[in-house]
Every structure is written in C-alpha cells, then in structure tokens.
C-alpha cells in the first residue's frame, strides 16, 4: 500500500522538521546563532524573521496538509473503473489563490521596507566609528580618532552603536602605507577581493567590496564574546577568516583603548626577546607595524603592537599560545589552509632557534 507509506513518510517529515526546529532552539554552544540576537540590530532582524517564519510555517502546514489529503483521499481504489469527471478549472478558485497569497505578501512587505531603511541609517547620538578592512585572510580594525589599530579581535563598548565602515585591501595596498588608505581613496585597494563581515548575534552581514566603502551598524546589549567570520567566498582560506567581537562595559573598554594607545616596550639587551627583535627587524617589518619600534611601520599585515592583548591570531583560528605561534612561524601555510598560499604570510625558513627568540619577542607585545 504505497499510499499509507506516502502519508507516513510525509508525516514523518513534518515531525522531523518540528524536531529540528526544536533542536535548533536549544543547540548548545552555537556561538554564531542568528536566532539568539544579543543586541538591538540583530534583534530588529530577528523580530522580522520570526513572524515571517511562522506565517511560512502556517502556509507550509496548510499546503502540505492539503496535498497529503488529496493524495490519500483521491488515490486509486482497487476495482474502480470509471474515469473521473474531466474538470478543467475554476475561475473563482484561481482568483482566490492569486489574491490570498498577494495579501499575505503585502503584510510581509510593509515591515520589510521599514526594516530596510531602519538598518541603513547611521544611528543618531553617540556612535563609535570603526574602520574594518578585509584582507586575505584576516580582519583589520582601525578606530579613527582613537589611534588604535588591531586585528581579528574587535573590542566594543556595551550599549553603544558601532558604525562600521568596511573596505577591502590587497597586495597593492601594502606598497602604499597610507593609514586607512582605502577608506580615503577608494582606488588604492591593490589586488583585493570581496569579503563579507558577519557577526550573527550582533547584526546582519555586509559585503566588503574593493573600491567601495560599505557600512554596517552593530551593537551589543550585554557584555560577552561574539564570534563571526567572513561570509563571502574569498579564496583558499575563506573558512579561516574568522573574528571575535568582545563587548565590554564602558570603563573596561576605555581602559582597553588606553592600553592599546601605548607604545610597545623595547626588550632589555642580551635577553632572548632582544634577539627576537633582531629577527623581527630582519624579516617581519616588511609587513608588520609595531608602535614604538621605529623600523616597523609597514601595514600590509596585522599591526602587532599589542599582539598579546588578543586571544587569537591568523584570522582568529589559533589561540594565542607560545606553541601555536611557533608552529605558525615555522610554516604559516602548513597550518592555515594546508596548502601553499593558504596563508598570505610567507614561510621565511626560520630556524627553530630564531623562532624561539621571535616568539619570546612577540610575547613582550602585551
């Protein structure tokens, strides 16, 4: 009796979907869950999605239920020989099932449009500006006016809207180290590609497009760490272009800003870290800036002045540990992407000795 199986399977499918929705609601550590907004902008989206989801669910139940009913009710019965009446249609029904969905959609469209405009505006009042620069494959965060430049871990104060200006940078950008160049001059972007900035619990995503400056507003209404990642395919290590947002109470955030503004110390002569600094100044300054180190001014790679204040590195895929730093410096592409070119940072064929010294120096960049 295939019919009974049809109905059983379809019922099973409906049950499965219900189960799935339930399970989604209580998934454990889903740190990027769009259904758990942690700020007013993500919430605005969630408040739009939820009613539409339930309308869609209602339509789903009605339509699938009807389909199931028709399939069971009008299945062929053994022995039936007469041919059903040849009904060709019904104008009234046609009009009804054109108009009813249209009305439902008008109901959906109105809040949609107001939502689009609400999210597009720069918020009024006290707003923190942050420039986000997407690189292959890491995030640069620049706080204009605060003289803070960091990577992969974005600090924001709780309860204040953060107005992000997003742009992309690539290889050509390294050669012209104008600070935040691509924001002021849209053509200075080098061989950059498109990324998309996304921290699901704080807001929707916004593409980071070479040659354009896009904007996105985030806000966290409670302290916490929120993960995000690049959501537009950007090449080999797209999956390894992650980030963290740390939302802090105002005073903690201010303290963090103050600490970030300080110069890095110079290690005491004769220490392992001092040897590390020599290695650093020999190789790493080609791309990495360290405030307080007059030789390290290039900004193609992440600014390392306060590297140790971040708890992850390399597109936020490694915890900031001595061992991770050492294996990264040994051969970056071996641990990121697993293929040559997986990391933009080249392999400098450093000896174990050099790596040990270099890590010791990096550990001083608090």
């Amino acid at each position: 009796m295939p019919l009974r199986r049809v109905s059983r399977t379809l019922l099973g499918a409906v049950g499965l979907i219900a189960l799935v929705v339930l399970a989604a609601a209580c998934a454990p550590n889903a740190t990027q869950d769009t259904l758990k907004p942690a700020g007013p902008y993500a919430e605005k989206i969630d408040n739009l999605f939820r009613p539409v989801f339930w309308i869609a669910t209602a339509v789903f139940v009605v339509v699938e239920g009807l389909l199931l009913y028709l399939a069971v009710r009008y299945r062929h019965r053994k022995g039936r020989r007469e041919i059903p009446p040849q009904v060709h249609g019904n104008q009234r029904l046609e009009i009804a099932w054109t108009i009813v969905p249209a009305i439902l959609l008008v109901g959906v469209a109105i809040p949609t449009v107001s939502g689009i405009y609400a999210l597009a505006a720069r918020p009024s009042g006290q707003v923190l500006d942050v420039n986000v620069i997407g690189h292959q494959w890491w995030w640069e965060f620049d706080y204009p006016g605060l003289d803070v430049n960091t990577a992969n871990v974005l600090h924001i104060p709780v309860g204040q809207p953060v107005y992000l200006s997003l742009c992309a940078a690539g290889a050509g950008y390294e050669e012209q180290p104008a600070p935040h160049g691509c924001l002021e001059e849209a053509t200075n972007v080098g061989d950059s590609v498109i990324h998309s900035f996304w921290v699901p619990r704080l807001g929707g995503k916004q593409d980071v497009v070479p040659g354009r400056t896009n904007h996105l507003v985030l806000e966290a209404d409670r302290p916490g760490t929120y993960t995000g990642q690049c959501a537009e395919f950007c090449g080999l290590s797209h999956a390894d272009m992650r980030l963290k947002v740390i939302a802090q109470p105002r005073d903690e955030f201010d303290a963090w800003v103050l600490a970030q503004q300080a110069d890095a110390p110079t290690p005491a002569g004769g220490s392992l870290a001092a040897t590390g600094l020599e290695v650093f100044n020999g190789q790493c300054i080609a791309c990495h800036a360290v405030q307080g180190n007059p030789q390290a001014v290039n900004i193609g790679g992440p600014n390392l002045t306060h590297l140790m204040s971040r708890d992850c590195f390399a597109g936020c895929i490694f915890d900031m540990t001595r061992a991770n730093l050492a294996s990264w410096l040994k051969d970056p592409s071996a641990v990121k992407g697993g293929v040559p070119g997986g990391a933009s940072m080249p392999d400098y064929n450093l000896t174990d000795e050099e790596i040990r010294a270099l890590v010791a120096y990096l550990m001083t960049l608090k």
């Binding site: 689009i116 040659g211 999956a239």
Partner: protein, 632 residues
C-alpha cells in the same frame, strides 16, 4: 527547415558525401535525429550527474565533522565550484534539453526540429564545453572561484582555473543559445495542423518560455564571461577598481543571467509535472491557461529580481526595497501553479506510479523552497541568511527537490516511450523513497545550520560552533541519495536486459507522443496528425456524455487509431511503413565545427597557434555544413 526534405538530385560524391551509417558508432556521431540527440543529451547529462554527485559526497565527507581533513582547501574549492557548475550547466540544463529535443517534435506533431544539423551541433558544443571545463583537473587546476565566479577573486587569483570556467561556459553558452533558437522556431512554426498555441501541452509552453529565457539571458553572461576572460588574459580592467573598473558590475551581469537561469532550470520540471499529474490523476490539468500564463509571468518577472542575490552588497535601501518587493511578487504566480497542480489531484483517480510519486514530491518539496525563498525577500532577514547554509538548503529544495525530482519524474514517465521498455515499478519506488528520505535528511538540516551561523563555501569549521550534529546528519542523507541514484542506474540497466515490453500508450496518456509506437519510428508520425483539441490523444480515446460521464470510444470506432484515423492529414505521408518519408540526412560537419571550439579555448589558455588551428577546424565545419549536398 527539414522535416521532410526533397531527395537530392543526383547526390554528389567525394569529400562532401553525407554519412550513410544508420547503426553503430558513426551513426551516433553523425546523427541529426532529434530523438537520438535527445538520448545523447540525456546520457551525457546523467554521466555528469554522477560526477557532480561524487563531488558532493566528498564535500559532505569533508564537512561531516568539525576540522575535516578529507580534502585540502584548494581541492575543496575546486570540488564545490565544479559541483555547482556541473549540476547547473552540465546536468539540469542538458537533461532538460534532452526532454526538449526528444519530445518537442513528438508533442507538437512534427518529424524533427527546425534545424536538425544545428541541433546536433548544440549537443557536440555542449559536450565539448563540459569536457573542456573538466580538463582543467588535468591541466593545472579546475575552476575554483565558485560557480558564481565573483570578480575580482576570479580575475586576480593565480592559475588558469577560472579560464577553464570562462571558456568552457562560453562553449556551453553557444550550445544553449543555438538550441534555444532552434527549439523556439520549432515550437512556433512546426506545430501540426490544428495545434493552436492553446492546444499545446503545458510542457511545450514551458519549453517555449525556457527557450526565450535562454535567448535573452545567455547574451548577458556571455558578455560577462568575455570581460572576465579579457581581464584575466588580455589585461583589461572591467572589474578592477584600481583602474576604474567595478567588481559589482560582474555581479549584476552574472545575476541578471543567473536569476532567469533559476527558472530555466525549474520551468522544464514544472512542465513535466504538468504532464505527469493529469495522466495519473486521469483528469486534465486544472486551470491550463492559468498554469501557462503563470509560467510566462514567472519567466518575465524572473528578469526583475536579480539583485535579491546581492542584498548584502551595499546597493542601498532603494534598490534593496525594489528587489525585495519584486521577489515577493514572483511568489504569486508560483503559488498559482502549485494550487493548480493540487486542483488537478482533486477528485482524481490517482495512480501512484513512480513518475507520479516523483511529481507529487516535487510539489511538496518545491513548496518548502518557495517558502524559504519568501523569507529571503524579507531583506533584513536575508542580511543574516545570505551566503549561509540556509541558502544552500533553499536552492537545493528548488533545484533538487524541485528540478531534479521533476526530471526524474520525466525519466520514469517517458522511459518506455524512448527505449520501448518499462522501468521496474518496485525498484522505481525504492529509488523514490530512498531519494525522498535522503534528500530531506541532507538539505532539511541545512536550514538549521545556516540559521546557526554556518556560512557557505567553507571547507572547515571549528567544533566550538556546535554545527557537528546536523552536518553529520546531512552527510548521512547524501549517501542515502547516492544509494537511490545507484538503484536508478540498476533499474535502467535491468530494463535493457529485458525484451522490449512497452506498448505505445502504457500510461493511458493524453498527448501525441503516446500515439506512436514505443520507441517511435525515425520519422515519428507516418502521417502528420491533425489536432482538434488540447489533450488530443485523450479525446481520440474517450468521449464525454452530456452528463459529464467519460466513456471510452469503442475500439475500432472512428478516430481510435491515431495513425490511420480521420485525425490524419493525407498529403505528407506516402504509404505504410514510412518508406517514402525523407528525413534530413546525417552529417559529419556539426561535430567537426564543435571540435573547433575547445581547440580555440586551449589556444587562448596555452598557445595562440592552437586557437588558429581551432578556428580553421571550426571554419571547415561551418563551410562543409553549408555546401554539403542536402541528402543522398
């Protein structure tokens, strides 16, 4: 125009003699018979379906658990790109083309398509393009920038990978464009006497709409692909912002093609379902005109929704509002179709054969894809959903749960007509149930994964995101789908191990292709039928009393024998067995011309002299084609 060609006056010999083989290898290489070309399209598309499926299985294995190590990042990127390129351009499009080729002449009562040699050329150009793209795997790297090939990633990344993409898709684009013209002309001009537009089967209507969509959408992607090619190979800067170009230009061009493409993929399946449901519900399609007009409306509005793929690009609130609303509007005609299919089932006498099961599942699953589509039209919600697995779930419900299920319905429905053999119903049902379960298990959980924050196109994810469980479920589902496809393959093979057993009209169907033998003779119709109504064949078999009771027309009575009854026009056929019906002669030149295309492609990538050689081959093909004698 060569349905019935005049015999050549003193056929010329020599180099330009037309091939004569009617069986064996060369007869297939040189064939211009729309039915054989349809079979070639179908088999090739199915082979690519298996390859694209294997790529999908690797993708699912890699993602089954966090920190997967099955594929390297570079191989993963090639596999997901090729999975998309394959399934869209090398599976669903040509599989639809297979049905179009085979059934357009048979359903409109013609003996072939308008331009039979052009038809052969489109198949060989499609095959050349498909093999060309895949040859990248052996020549330094297959396409790896996504099926959507976003610039500037596609233009600045090192390697020839995306050149194989641009050039290969240009070749399949040539095939599709030529085919679109050919088939549109066929439907418009070659309908049998009496077959007005509104007596055409809905599948013919959807075929016509698809050809028009192709004709208008393909030129856009063609221009885009040339721009990509020139940016990569010849130093132009269409998409390079540093030189005043704009990467977003590619996105507009791609999606202005890409969204009509979605309907190019799904309308054929909608047409098939509109044929299958009436046959097995034993009722005419409910609201024929509404189904036709909603199909036309979908095709038309389909050109006005492209930027809903770009809500997060930063086009501004005005554009996002406009495209959000147009996307909602397109849901209306889609809903009309769904309700009319359900109206067809209403008060029917539904026989749940395998094709019917696939058709009903198509409706159920397409509804899910449509509803999730409406949630994307809620633009702010799409800021969360776009580029996540929620989208992956959505379009697989449309393109797999919809298009592929519809095409499988068509395969089971028309298999007896094409091969003269029934597919086993018990194996078919097993195939169906495994595919339904596997499909929903694979793609249902992806809705959740997307909402939980899993982006698309990532080759790995950390365990901390809590995505492992549903990914594992999806992977299990994928292997159930693979099992169901293998079962289909067994069913197909088994059918050839049996003698031919299919009657001309095994399903008690309603349209003209079932009025001729299974498989049909080379000339399709001994005499061109004269059409008196929609569902012509049904009306030859059944009559309605005044009270609406349907009674069979007594056997042997007037009009029962479609080939010889009064419904046949005299002048074109000449006696029994079709001996005097002249069919277009086979030709070497379509395949020669198509062979020039990949040579030109390799030339652009490697050495220009190869391109010159390819151009010569192409010209030889085209000129030979033009001057060969009409027939032997």
């Amino acid at each position: 125009m060569a349905t019935v060609s005049v015999p050549a006056e003193g056929a010329r010999g020599g180099l330009l003699r037309r091939p004569t083989a009617t069986t064996g290898f060369w007869s297939w290489i040189t064939t211009v018979d729309h039915k054989r070309i349809g079979i070639l399209y179908g088999i090739t598309a199915f082979a690519f379906f298996l390859i694209g499926g294997i790529e999908a299985l690797f993708i699912r294995l890699q993602l089954a658990q966090p920190n997967g190590k099955i594929l390297s990042a570079s191989t993963y990127n090639e596999f997901f790109t090729m999975h998309g390129v394959t399934m869209i351009f090398l599976v669903v499009m040509p599989l639809s083309a297979a049905f179009f080729n085979y059934f357009i002449p048979l359903q409109i009562g013609a003996r072939d398509v308008a331009f039979p040699r052009l038809n052969a050329f489109t198949y060989w150009a499609f095959l050349a393009g498909g093999l060309f793209i895949y040859s990248g795997f052996f020549l330094g790297g297959a396409p790896n920038g996504g099926w959507f090939g976003y610039a500037p990633l596609s233009t600045v990344e090192p390697g020839n990978n995306m050149l194989f993409y641009a050039l290969g898709l240009l070749m399949t684009g040539i095939a599709s464009t030529a085919s679109a013209m050919n088939l549109a002309v066929t439907i418009i001009n070659m309908r049998a006497p009496g077959m007005t537009m509104f007596r055409m089967p809905v599948f013919m209507w959807m075929a016509l709409v698809v050809q028009l969509l192709l004709a208008f959408a393909l030129p856009i992607i063609t221009v885009g692909l040339f721009q990509m090619l020139f940016d990569r190979r010849f130093g132009t800067h269409f998409f390079d912002p540093a030189a005043g170009g704009d990467p977003v230009l590619w996105q507009h061009m791609f999606w202005l093609f890409g969204h009509p493409e979605v309907y190019i993929l799904v309308l054929p399946a909608m047409g098939i379902v509109s044929e299958v449901l009436p046959v097995f519900a034993r009722k005419p399609l409910f609201g024929y005109q509404f189904v036709v007009f909603s199909g036309i409306a979908i095709g038309f509005i389909g050109f006005g929704v492209w930027a809903h793929h770009m809500f997060a690009v930063g086009l501004g609130p005005v554009a996002n509002t406009a495209f959000g609303i147009s996307t909602m509007i397109i849901a209306v005609p889609t809903g009309v179709k769904i309700f009319n299919w359900m109206g067809t089932l209403w008060k029917g006498d539904i026989r749940f054969t395998t094709p019917m099961l696939f058709a009903v599942a198509f409706i159920g699953q397409f509804v899910v894809g449509g509803l999730s589509g409406v949630t994307h039209a809620v633009v702010p919600a799409d800021y969360q959903q776009t580029d996540t697995y929620y989208i992956v779930a959505h379009f697989h419900y449309v393109l797999f749960g919809g298009a592929i299920f519809g095409l499988f319905s068509g395969v089971y429905y028309w298999w007896p007509k094409v091969f003269g053999r029934m597919l086993d119903e018990r194996i078919g049902k097993l195939n169906f149930w495994l595919m339904v379960i596997g499909f929903n298990l694979t793609f249902g959980p992806m809705h959740i994964l997307g909402l939980q924050g899993m982006p698309r196109r990532i080759q790995t994810y950390p365990p901390t995101l809590g995505l492992g469980v549903w990914n594992l479920v999806a992977t299990i589902g994928a292997f159930i789908i693979a099992t169901s496809v293998l079962i289909f393959l067994l069913n197909a093979i088994a059918s050839f191990r049996r003698p031919r057993d299919a009657a001309a009209d095994p399903w008690d169907a309603r349209t003209l292709e079932w009025s001729v033998s299974s498989p049909p003779p080379a000339y399709n119709f001994e005499e061109i039928p004269v059409v008196h109504s929609l569902d012509e064949l049904w009306h030859r078999k059944y009559a309605e009393t005044e009270g609406g009771i349907v009674v069979p027309v007594p056997a042997g009575g007037a009009g029962t024998d479609p080939a010889h009854g009064p419904g046949s026009a005299g002048p074109e056929g000449h006696g029994a067995g079709g001996h005097a019906i002249h069919l277009p002669g086979p030709s070497y030149f379509p395949v020669v011309a198509a062979l020039g295309l990949p040579l030109i492609g390799y030339g652009v990538i490697f050495h220009m002299w190869m391109a010159v050689a390819g151009a010569i081959v192409l010209l030889v093909g085209v000129y030979g084609w033009a001057i060969e004698p009409t027939s032997e």
